[in-house]
Amino acid sequence: MTTSLKKLQDFNELIAYADLVGLHIEEDDQGIITRLAAQQDNIGNEIIGAIHGGVVGGLLEHAASFHLLYELEDLKVTSRIINLSIDYLRPALLKDTFARAHVYKQGKRVVNVRIQAWQDDENRPVACGHAHFLIA
């Protein structure tokens, strides 16, 4: 059983930061993904017109959190981020950016998550990361 997409989207709507930068929860044939909408005011490098690295980091964190809500069966389980390591692989240009998370180990207290973000081609990621979450 996984949490329904609609429930996650309703919860996401309550998050002011998601609205500020344009984070949306969507679903494809492989599960849920988080989309960061192309917004001029997310730019952090004006020369190449690239999205701010902090916002890309936020996308990875948000995608991981929502993936955990999705996988951890019911919304009563809360998770809190412990840490995150981000590799910036390519400039994230002013287009929609997507992120998909994958749980590679779930323990009693800690979940290890990998996240990948891409724009046009999922096989050419713009950033990837791994994070630890505390669950209770």
Binding site: L20, N42, H52, G53, G57, L59
Partner: protein, 149 residues
């Protein structure tokens, strides 16, 4: 060097996303610096308990560590973030300013290594810590060259 430091600070503060958040660089020396971000309801990531989204700390520390990496070199350099590791130590109150501080602890011709931390009530009680590595490029120049015609 003071001119270039002011120029870096000014340029970074005026990046579209930094402007939108209202992120201020309160100090920039060669290889160290500080920031301040006033609270804003738009930064909330936990609607029930009104904490900032962790991405706010990530964005503040990414910005500051990058500016500090740029400032660490004579004349300033542009840098590209290679990686950034964030330790989210505790939750952040949604109604208090978030302060940041960072220092470049090692550099060579190619890479700058920077650590930073963020706090709200007391600099000795950080809410987040970051370590970033930055690839170093040419002279600091973020203004897009206008076509001379």
């Amino acid at each position: 060097m003071q001119d270039i430091l002011s120029y870096i600070a000014e340029t970074v503060q005026n990046l579209p996303h930094c402007k939108k958040l209202g992120l201020e660089i309160t100090r920039l020396n060669q290889g160290s610096g500080a920031t301040m971000l006033r609270p804003n309801p738009a930064f909330i990531g936990n609607p029930k308990r009104l904490f900032f989204h962790s991405a706010i700390a990530t964005t503040v520390l990414d910005t500051l560590c990058g500016a500090v990496a740029s400032s660490a070199y004579d004349g300033g350099r542009t840098v590209a973030t290679l990686d950034l590791r964030l330790d989210h130590l505790t939750t952040m109150a949604g109604d208090k300013p978030l302060y940041g501080q960072a220092e470049c602890f090692h550099k060579n011709d190619d890479v700058a290594y920077v650590r930073g931390w963020a706090w709200q009530d007391n600099p000795d009680e950080p809410v987040a810590k970051a370590t970033g590595t930055f690839m170093v490029n040419g002279p600091f120049q973020l203004i897009v060259q206008k076509d001379p015609s």
